[in-house]
Symmetry: C2
Subunit: 155 residues, 2 copies
């Protein structure tokens, strides 16, 4: 288990491989983002996207799937996330794209009011198979401090 004290500013990681299928793009769009450029080839061709593209929220979801998969082998004492800053959809994501993730820890802040946890800030960048950045976001995750310094956490 990795605690707040184990996380170091500047640490970089590369992971993930997510094949974006047409079926999944359509399925997500039908449920959550039924705009024409996410649902219909002809309508998409008339827009600035040029062709059918994934919902930006779908890209977020696929990115989360890669992050959770990666952290299976590198468990953090995570306590959820209060949010995200500066989420940017830089390029469209198309069916057939293969996505991957790069992360860099940008800040590790012990909580002033709650000694049992702190926040870890990371820059998350998602690339396609052409090594084009398609999305960036600044994630914030709460992580527990090491239990030995917080006896009440060991119960």
């Amino acid at each position: 288990m990795k605690y707040l004290e184990d996380l170091i500013v500047g640490t970089k990681a590369q992971f993930g491989r997510y094949e974006v299928t047409r079926e999944e793009v359509l399925d997500f769009a039908r449920k959550y983002d039924p705009q024409a450029f996410h649902l219909d080839d002809e309508a998409a061709a008339k827009t600035h996207f040029g062709r059918l593209s994934a919902s930006g929220w779908h890209t977020c979801a696929m990115t989360m799937a890669m992050i959770v998969e990666d952290q299976k082998g590198d468990r953090r004492a995570g306590l959820g996330s209060p949010g995200i800053d500066e989420l940017r959809w830089l390029k469209p994501v198309f069916p057939g794209d293969i996505l991957r993730v790069e992360t860099e820890v940008t800040d590790v802040r012990p909580s002033r009011s709650r000694p049992e946890l702190g926040s870890v800030h990371s820059l998350v960048t998602v690339f396609n198979q052409k090594d084009q950045a398609v999305m960036t976001m600044k994630s914030i995750v709460l992580v527990a401090t090491r239990p030995t310094t917080n006896p009440q956490m060991e119960a």
Copy 2:
């Protein structure tokens, strides 16, 4: 069709009704966010969430569904979104919750380099059936300017 010139800072809107089902929470979590507190009742009971809760990304997706549904009747000349600022997950969203949305236009900015469009900034707040704010985000959407001032857009 609503163009950039039709969107006014300070305009507020309330819309949407989304019933969060257990089946949908589990389905989204299995695909995109398979952390124990989104998948398993017993594991969730041991965390700060208290019980099974929806992925924050699922809340974003459900919110987008309400926004797209709302804009069917009030079409904007939308050109997609470059991103989101300050997304905050304030409270867990549980199966059985009923979500709704409030929005306020906070800024309308004509583009300096591209007279055919501008950006509309809005504060989006999602409430549950107890009128608790469960999520906020600052959305940015690109919207076309009125074609009469841009003859090349009428083609």
